[in-house]
């Protein structure tokens, strides 16, 4: 059981690192496209970064979902395996990743709603810059309190408390 739990935790770890690499790839790719001034790339600005952020958070969330389905499958195997696997998420040092997950979800949700609004009411896209900034404010309002509570939990459980 311990070996299986370890394998599932390793899978979650690999998927996390993998989405980090993908995020880096997108950012470097955009930088190079802008430098070379070629290819189907937006001409910079906040719209381009929200496009990149939507992609990066989307791929990261699917990567986590893959791992999360595998670990939840452990519920069907029994308490022993599931409780051992879930232990990874409960380490105090895992908290930053959990906070990142929540941040990615909130951002992807808000930005997704903005995309839907632009799709169905194209005139709104004329004000895309204002929307992009409003979105950042909304994100801060939704995420900062949640991030604060979660980090406080982690600090209390850590050896530094």
């Amino acid at each position: 059981m311990e070996a299986i739990a370890f394998a599932i935790e390793a899978l979650v770890f690999i998927l996390t690192v993998g989405s980090g690499v993908f995020a880096l790839y997108i950012v470097v790719d955009l930088m190079q496209l802008r430098k070379a001034n070629r290819g189907p790339v937006y001409k910079g600005g906040i719209g381009q970064w929200s496009w990149a952020a939507h992609r990066i958070t989307g791929v990261g969330l699917l990567a986590f979902l893959f791992g999360h389905i595998v670990d939840t499958f452990g519920v069907g195997v029994g308490p022993e395996l599931y409780d051992q696997t879930i232990h990874l998420y409960q380490q105090w040092w895992f908290k930053p990743f959990e906070v990142l997950l929540v941040a990615a979800t909130i951002y992807h949700a808000i930005n997704g709603v903005r995309i839907i609004l632009f799709d169905f009411w194209p005139n709104l896209a004329l004000k895309q810059k204002s929307f992009a900034y409003a979105e950042l404010v909304l994100f801060a309002i939704a995420f900062l309190p949640a991030g604060f509570f979660m980090m406080r939990q982690a600090v209390e459980a850590s050896p530094f408390a």
């Binding site: 699917l62 519920v75 409960q90 949700a109 979660m150 939990q153």
Partner: protein
């Protein structure tokens, strides 16, 4: 042995019209676009509620263990909620990554291999996730 034909090559041969210069978007792409919007709007609520319950209130993820999950899955309502979220999130995510693959994996053969892998994983995980929710015995 001749190299294996890609899905696109086979499709091109059978449906040359789909590759005509002034073709309209295939109805699959239109439905996929529409599905992303509808599932996205539903997932905003499903996932934010899920995150709120699992990560924020109480002592967050610290209290999640087998007993916690089995208590939740005693309710057919939460089972339905979780299953709906599983199906929508997995299809929404897989379809999103399909679009990303079209952008970055240009070689037709690699494109086919990567997409086939994605669809296989999605299928396997859909079965695993559905099985664990549906077969979880009430009263555990």
């Amino acid at each position: 042995m001749a190299p294996m034909a890609t899905i696109e090559q086979v499709y091109r041969k059978r449906k040359p019209k789909a590759f005509a210069a002034q073709r309209r978007p295939s109805s699959f792409e239109v439905w996929s676009w529409f599905f992303m919007r509808i599932s996205g709007l539903l997932l905003v609520w499903l996932v934010l509620i899920h995150l709120y319950i699992m990560h924020l209130i109480g002592s967050g993820v610290e209290r999640v263990d087998f007993a916690f999950v089995s208590q939740r899955w005693n309710s057919v309502g939460w089972k339905t909620f979780d299953w709906l979220m599983l199906v929508l999130a997995l299809l929404h995510g897989a379809n999103g990554v399909r679009v990303v693959i079209e952008d970055y994996v240009r070689s037709p053969r690699a494109n086919t291999v990567v997409k086939a892998t994605l669809y296989t994983l999605t299928g396997v995980l859909m079965v695993m996730g559905t099985a664990v929710i549906v077969t979880f015995p009430p009263g555990t």
